[in-house]
Symmetry: C2
DNA sequence: CTTGACCTTCCAGTTACAGGAAGGTTCATA
DNA sequence: TATGAACCTTCCTGTAACTGGAAGGTCAAG
């Protein structure tokens, strides 16, 4: 498929997809006309990149995560080590998001009148 | 306190803290020597910024979130609307992180031998 | 009163894109 | 067959959110 369809299916702008190719994250085929040609596995990777980037992982971390699945020569112990480190980080992110969620919900419910209450919720916010 | 201590307490590099001042996110006092002087509420905000940035919110979104607590003149309905939108986004992030977590854990447990198995886990990864 | 660890501003570089120009390709329609 | 819209290409510039480093002022300890 062309880059437009890959964009539509992955949710990433075509610009970003080309950029990811520039920095070596994906390697689509090329048709005779010079157009990029993406397979469904490419789309899977792009969707994955879209998600993990939006969750605060750097492009380099995404590269590591992708490598967990792609680098056939990597020994299992390495994979486990990296994956385990990422798991710890993911758990932290989930915890922090949950706290942030709780705090925001508190605010939403606290504001029942027409005026914002003067509650010092920032403390709660930053206690993580 | 000086910027070094604020950095230590918030987890943000001093460079970043100065940058956040440049773009108007925080307004520390200045001592007679020209040094920035941070209070504990500043540290709270900085910790909050550190967290929400690492969770994939843009600086502008962080600004909105901070404004929910700072803008005393804002009507409650507005606060609710913004906060509710953020809640939806946070829920999505939590869902996606949970899926990513599950997939990574799967990989860790699947790799019991010395060689990485050739499992096409990418599909699972990108189904969110 | 100097030394080292702070702090300041300023300027340049990096990452991860986004916008837009200039031009080639494809495909439906006149 | 032609022409126009909607694709695609590369290239170059701009932006966001930092990061590093230079050049120099401040402060507390010995």
């Amino acid at each position: 498929m062309n880059i437009g369809e890959a964009s539509g299916r992955s949710g990433l702008p075509a610009k970003t997809i080309r950029y990811y190719e520039d920095i070596g994250l994906i390697r689509p085929d090329r048709g005779g006309n010079g157009y990029r040609d993406y397979g469904s596995d490419d789309v899977h990777k792009l969707r994955f990149l879209n998600r993990s980037r939006s969750l605060g992982f750097s492009v380099d971390e995404c590269r590591q995560l992708l490598a967990l699945y792609e680098d056939k020569s990597r020994a299992s112990a390495d994979v486990k080590e990296i994956a385990t480190a990422k798991l710890t980080e993911i758990d932290r992110k989930i915890r922090e998001l949950t706290e942030l969620r709780r705090t925001l919900e508190h605010l939403v419910h606290a504001c029942h009148g027409n005026e914002r209450p003067d509650c010092p919720i920032l403390e709660e916010l930053s206690e993580g």
